[in-house]
Amino acid sequence: MLNIIYCEILKLKKSYIIPVAVIGGMFMSILFELTSLVFKESMQTFEQYSSNLEIPNIVVLYTILFSLIAGFVFSREFTDRTSSVIYTYPISRIKIFIGKLITIDMLISLVYLVKVISIYFSYYILNHMLPESTFTMNYLKYNIYSLIAQFLIIPIPILVTNMSKNLILPVIYGIVGTVVTMIASGKMFQINDYVPLVAPYKFIMKTYIPNLIDLNHSVLSGIVCFIISMIICIYQYNKDDIV
């Protein structure tokens, strides 16, 4: 199993996906840093700074970025015509699938890690101070929960990729997911609590609004979404024909 993951990471070595993940994590911090420097804004608290930064990050950027990552890891076997090689390994297809899934999860964790570090770094450069330790612990805790919620919804773009064998449709899924997240992160409908796509957003917002959000529905819908889409994914990946 370890070998498969290692081999997947080696495949990524010469592609653009690792720089893309790092840039995706840092981009918003750099942008906010620059705008704050240009407009000479008065001093913000860390809560204001990071909540302003997280909302566009998680609503617009990450849905598309993560489906792009998932799409790339799975679809390049088809576009590079190496799927006939990978399926002749003496390893079952489920193991290959899980190995790829863990690789995607590691890339997502890299994005989150870069994001947290760059937020703290850019805030320190702007204001020469850091938030207190209780807030930091809380912030890290909810970031980890949000990361786990991202893991729960990642099988959907994987399924889209495996069915279309292409990189275009996962990106389209990402755009649709962004629109859905944008609508469902508001308070417009009753059903919003049950949409699994907003679970990462809600966990991040829980840091800033501690008692407003009830997360049971999001967690439940996320887990149900993970189990169902995972079963369909594994079935589809096992039955799929080699092209």
Partner: protein, 252 residues
């Protein structure tokens, strides 16, 4: 020249790109349609009230699609048209055509522009259709002609931005980096124009296609010198770079 454009369209026939273009024209108007249906908003009684509400909705749909969808979709289309020659290993065949590379480049560029016009057309049609189905009225003829004019302005400004994703796609020979460019550009434009079109955001050339909506419908002022300057500089610099790179690039 005509043959080259025709062959580019034939290449697109069996791909997902046409469906993607169709879909991206419908997505925002469809979403607004569905959410308005589900919301069960109180009946707007008088006709003038309904018409003014409708005009606000049309402006919202135009603005939201230009802000969130178009940048990423158009860079996806441009990147797909240019980079699939490398991923499908058909670049050898293409460069053996009895046509100059500049002609091939402009054929592809015109195909991209045609798809952009197609997306805008679908978006305008679905907007008016869905709002008419929902409310049963259409806005005044003056508003519709103004809206069409603004959309044509926006299309022309989109053409000016196309060389950037084309250059990125040609250099990286990949579809990922142009998509990421579109994504990051989307986020940046969303932040710059989120609070209205102020004078600082007009310096960024990526906001150009969205400025007409703000200028004509919301009345935000535009600095003509800055806008036209950034448009001309962006287009000429990136077009020259694109043409130079495309004519000098090695086949592999």
């Amino acid at each position: 020249m005509f043959n080259i454009i025709y062959s580019e369209f034939v290449k697109l026939k069996k791909s997902y790109i046409l469906i993607v273009a169709l879909f991206s024209g419908c997505v925002i108007s469809g979403t607004i349609f569905i959410t308005d249906m589900l919301r069960q908003r109180n009946e707007l009684v008088s006709l003038t009230e309904r018409v003014s509400f409708l005009e606000g909705r049309i402006v919202d749909i135009d603005r939201m699609s230009a802000l969130f969808i178009y940048n990423i979709i158009f860079s996806l289309i441009a990147a797909y048209i240019f980079s699939r020659e490398h991923t499908d290993k058909t670049a050898n065949t293409l460069y053996a055509y009895s046509a100059g590379r500049m002609k091939i480049f402009f054929g592809k560029f015109i195909t991209t522009c045609a798809l952009i016009v197609f997306v805008y057309l679908i978006q305008v049609l679905t907007t008016y259709l869905s709002l008419y189905i929902e409310w049963g009225v259409l806005p005044s003829a003056k508003f519709i002609s103004a809206d069409i004019k603004v959309n044509i302005c926006s299309i022309l400004l989109q053409f000016l931005l196309m060389p950037i994703p084309i250059l990125i796609a040609n250099i990286t020979r990949n579809i990922i980096v142009p998509i990421v460019y579109g994504l990051l550009g989307d986020v940046m434009v969303g932040l710059l124009l989120g609070a209205g079109a102020n004078i600082y955001s007009q310096f960024c050339p990526l906001t150009l296609p969205i400025l007409p909506f703000y200028h004509y419908h919301k009345g935000d002022p535009i600095d003509i010198v800055i806008v036209s300057g950034s448009a001309i500089i962006t287009f000429s610099v990136f077009m020259l770079l694109c043409m130079y790179h495309y004519s000098k690039v090695d086949i592999d």
